[in-house]
Symmetry: D2
Subunit: 283 residues, 4 copies
């Protein structure tokens, strides 16, 4: 059954929960999930309310107008989305295929409430994977000189497919600030360290060199500051002196794919709010 989800944030004040719950109730909404959070130090209130559209006495297009007096009164920001309008996701990949395989297999098995119409790669290697999942594959090679044109071509493809979310599934190219600015909080990257440790390139090799006893992976929204965006999810596994840098690369893949998939799932289910370069995840 289709649901509507409201993602709200505003300065904290008394009566917010009561008012919002009452608003849904008065319109005959049946709440299937509600969660809220107050950041006490910043005095900001966050809420996610998901209610069934069946029986609700407003049409989809009437919801925002009906809410607007409340939004003004509380200086509230509100996103409204509908579960049956599935976001469109593009997967960007380079040579390593594990995250791409994992996302596409989950999608095929019905785990992801999204559409994946497009895979873009700077290498031709995995065209057959996209074909197997019936997804369009675009091979857009890139050199330092051609980066601007390649990004333009990517942006055109993303626009053409009406993409809502870009997933960097071990896409090993740095995106320009201009590209990132086109999709604020709508590009998810997987970095292969527990950020803020080992920002930058070759984190597993640096982890091996430093002799850490844990390695990690971090799914985060891409921002113009590399590896500095809002963190959505992190995971770690234990290592020991027995693991070479190559072992870490191999063993880390399991974390990377699971961590990235969780972040993508939460995003497409509208469970994430971003503020102050941090995330509230209503999982």
């Amino acid at each position: 059954m289709a649901t509507a989800t409201l993602l709200l944030s505003c300065p904290d004040q008394k009566g917010l929960v009561a008012t919002m719950a009452d608003w849904v109730y008065r319109h005959d909404g049946n709440i299937v999930h509600a969660d809220q959070h107050t950041d006490a130090s910043e005095a900001v209130f966050f809420q996610r309310i998901e209610f069934e559209l069946e029986g609700f006495d407003l049409d989809r297009t009437e919801i925002v107008p009906a809410l607007s007096p409340l939004l003004e009164r509380f200086a509230m920001r509100c996103d409204v989305r509908f579960s049956d309008e599935r976001p469109k996701v593009a997967v960007l990949v380079s040579k390593q295929a594990h995250c791409m395989y994992d996302l596409l297999a989950r999608w095929r098995m019905g785990e992801l409430e999204a559409e994946i119409p497009l895979v873009i790669s700077n290498h031709p290697d995995h065209a057959d994977v996209a074909a197997h999942f019936d997804v369009e594959f675009a091979h857009l090679p890139v050199t330092p000189e051609s980066r601007i044109e390649q990004e333009s071509a990517m942006l055109a493809l993303l626009a053409e497919h009406d993409i809502d979310l870009v997933v960097l599934a071990r896409y090993m190219q740095v995106l320009s600030a201009g590209f990132v600015a086109k999709y604020p909080n709508r590009i998810i990257n997987i970095h292969h360290s527990f950020l803020p440790a080992f920002i930058g390139s070759k984190p597993y090799h640096r982890a091996a060199e430093r002799g850490v006893k844990l390695i990690g992976a971090t799914a985060h929204y891409a921002t113009s500051d590399l590896d500095e965006g809002p963190i959505i999810e992190q995971d770690v596994i234990r290592t020991s002196h027995r693991d070479s840098a190559e072992d870490l690369v191999r063993r880390g893949r399991d974390m990377e794919k699971v961590c990235l998939a969780r972040a993508v799932k939460w995003h497409v289910e509208d469970r994430i709010l971003v503020y102050n370069n941090k995330t509230v995840v209503f999982d």
Copy 2:
């Protein structure tokens, strides 16, 4: 600042969140924590609301009478507790001291919102530990023949100290059904396996024999069915073929104490609701 906490449960129905939030709001309550859960398969609603007493327009004694129309209307069960009326905890212990030390040290460091006036043991070994923490120590030895009298003596001590929660901190005696019935959902035990695996005695030895790759600990409310009560918290650590049963006993202690401490903390902060032999933990 003192707070009031409502722990609510009732058959699920529309308008519950709105009504309860509105009730607190109309009485000028400032909600510092609110969480709710609906068990969809059982159609039961659970909620925990914690609000500041300062500024609330009802006295403590007026809260339940003021709530009663709502409780009746929704067939709602409600517990009301106040953060500055700290529950009294008795710790029962045998020869192994790690859980007792851990709880008492946390209490001394201000981690537990409770009083611990009493330690009871069937062995005399740890009287000095209780003394160090300024807690009364009662040595009540027990034999199969003397169990009834020993339990009577324990009950008398618990009553005398007005104990709200009994913590079995590796207390190696089985309590009678009669004893347990006196403190429903108010006796927390730590079992040294990930229940329902290895119910009964010597779980680490049986884990070693079975060759499992994980060992666990389970904090649960004691019921008359041994190791079958509502589970509050569980934890595991990895083991390997290198761990003998004795290694498991030693290594398991770290889980046991952390797992038990979490359960006790949640209980004394009124974060646990029990239904159908399961727990809802609003952590």
Copy 3:
């Protein structure tokens, strides 16, 4: 570079490590990995020695004859395998594809030192997956009445492909004792609970019913006693009252595939010794 691996076990006695290391050394072997374990309570010694074939002064066929005096002297059991003679693996699957996808994608990416020439399923659903990975797909439906013939057909296929290891990648049929006996310690199953908890069917549903706070997965060798075989690897994830049985099914998949993949990898790299229904894993 190709290596030879010796997997040894024998009654514990002085001088074993010295003798075996000396034997490799005298034949100019360069040891790249050596690990040993003594089960003190059973007085059994286990060792894994992997050495480079280049420079070793014995041919492959000469190794066992050259070892035999030592094997006799120590009453030692010894398996010898060569890294460039990759074991052949068959994957058995039903409707759920996550473990199959995961294994095949790992294999394609070079993570598994094995060949996977064959997928068998009692359903036709995933023929295209096998095709994508260039693996033969055999659809062998089964009913209670046809089980014996279906198993015969499977055995014929396994023999035809010279299969060394059978992986039950969420294959939802019980195999007969006769079938299992054909592949002792060469059938790996993934069970979706932390055994010995929730032996049998629908473990996630029973986990939800019992209200556990962790769910698990267990990779084990199949024996004629269902879910009682030697455990190779286990993993768990946290759950809460918010997870329905269906949530557990979905969330558990990530554990299942990672846990199974680890077990398969260790097996094909000759890292597992079985004794007393337990495993020694030299990882």
Copy 4:
């Protein structure tokens, strides 16, 4: 039964395992634990051999002289220690008592193969804790001006008690390079982050600010570069947007104490080798 432990390291070369095992064997040693590791990229070999002293045909004082031809031949470094000559440990603490309590309670329960004759603190608060465990307590307050004298007083006390290992159990003062140099690889610190993330002060506050989803703790040997020493052990726990910096401080304690205790245990059991600012831990 008393054992001898050899901790060896040398340039990698053929025949090391055979030679060392043979040496123990020829002297009638019964090996109870042997583990080795080769760092392939650095071509360094490490080994830990523990054998029973009973039946061994050399006296304790004869071991090093008897080994010296081998040590020369292989350019091998070797430490020899005896399990019944328990290292002496001093615990340094400030206001937070959880690590101190944990270590002292483990020691009382027989978990640590060490003596703890001395607690030093820059605050007087926990004198009674030391007294409870029958350990001498030295209160040595420190100001920026008095640091040199305070460190001199500490060094005198450590020398007087013949201390082998100094444990910084949340000791919140920076030690001078001169102090640290007196105890190379014999001072263990617990840092409350997963290093190299959040080097320096207030890591939990910075973790909350950065919005990480995991917090960690790192036990490491102290070097003159703050938080840059060889890492012995690390652990993490999950956090969420709901955890304030204060919550992280409280929740982190459980990791800190367990992580530090593991490192101390491995050190006093001679399981740690240091090279290239990294550790090999034969656990």
